[in-house]
Symmetry: C2
Subunit: 138 residues, 2 copies
DNA sequence: TCCTTTGCTTTCATTATGCAAGTAAATTGA
DNA sequence: TCAATTTACTTGCATAATGAAAGCAAAGGA
């Protein structure tokens, strides 16, 4: 997708990393929906196909956004986990969600969730990080 | 790029609108660099090609992010301006810039700009909006 | 020892991207 | 007044990305 660096612009850097239609949806599943396995990602409503999912997981891992390890409980599986670099994308995701909540008349996000994200971003971030064993500071 | 709706997820909505490698760079040129004409967008460091630029301008206008009108001073030109919907993407852009500033060792953004964006988001938004004739409140 | 589960890879058709060249309307200069 | 230039595209074509479907391989279960 984005093999080389296009410029030194920070926005271009972010877009080269996650500027496609699928990468952030995979991160959403991991960060917000607690998914960890390949099969779970496939089940998401958008219907990603198997080759694209495999490619994105590989890219995200190569870019240091995801770690991949065998599941000790079932060695056919792998567990995908977010790195700190991925957790630091939460503000980007939240702002995109708030923007869509404002402009999509058929949005699936409920008003109470919007309110929570708008009025307690920091608390939300702490809550998500806690689920991945990260305390308040880093 | 993203013809139809993939799901009711707000993140998917945003990605269908701006989830590609060019759309946000065009908006960056307009919102942050004061560019207004086709030729100016072509001059950006990333080197977008003419057909892609034309396509993205059309898409952004169709989605209500840009307005397009003839330049009265030079009727060969058109003036592209951001709508409120585009200005509301500033938080997304700022979060992406801050993320890249943290993780790109060769980032082009200077520490003082990073500090400004981090510590005075609201002031920054007001400043940008003022340039487009929008006061504090919408 | 099969059968199933899980995570892919491969194949191939369709679509998007990107470079280069061409087109057309508005403007300028001779 | 008309030829050159500016500005904003469009078109053609090659290459790359996407997507649907089928196939494959290792691990686990019956």
């Amino acid at each position: 997708m984005a093999p080389q660096r296009r410029s030194d612009c920070p926005l271009a850097f972010a877009l080269d990393a996650i500027g496609d239609r699928w990468s952030l949806l995979v991160l959403r599943d991991i960060l917000l929906h607690g998914k960890r396995h390949y099969e779970e990602f496939l089940e998401s409503g958008e219907g990603i196909s198997t080759n694209i999912l495999a490619d994105r997981l590989k890219r995200l891992a190569r870019q240091g956004l995801l770690s991949k390890e065998r599941d000790a409980d079932n060695r056919r599986r792998y567990i995908y986990r977010p790195t700190e670099k991925a957790l630091d994308l939460l503000p980007v995701i939240v702002e995109m969600v708030l923007w869509s909540a404002r402009y999509d008349p058929d949005t699936g996000v409920t008003p109470d969730v919007v309110e929570r994200l708008r009025d307690d971003r920091a608390g939300f971030f702490v809550e998500v990080r806690r689920r991945f064993g990260r305390g308040e500071g880093a």
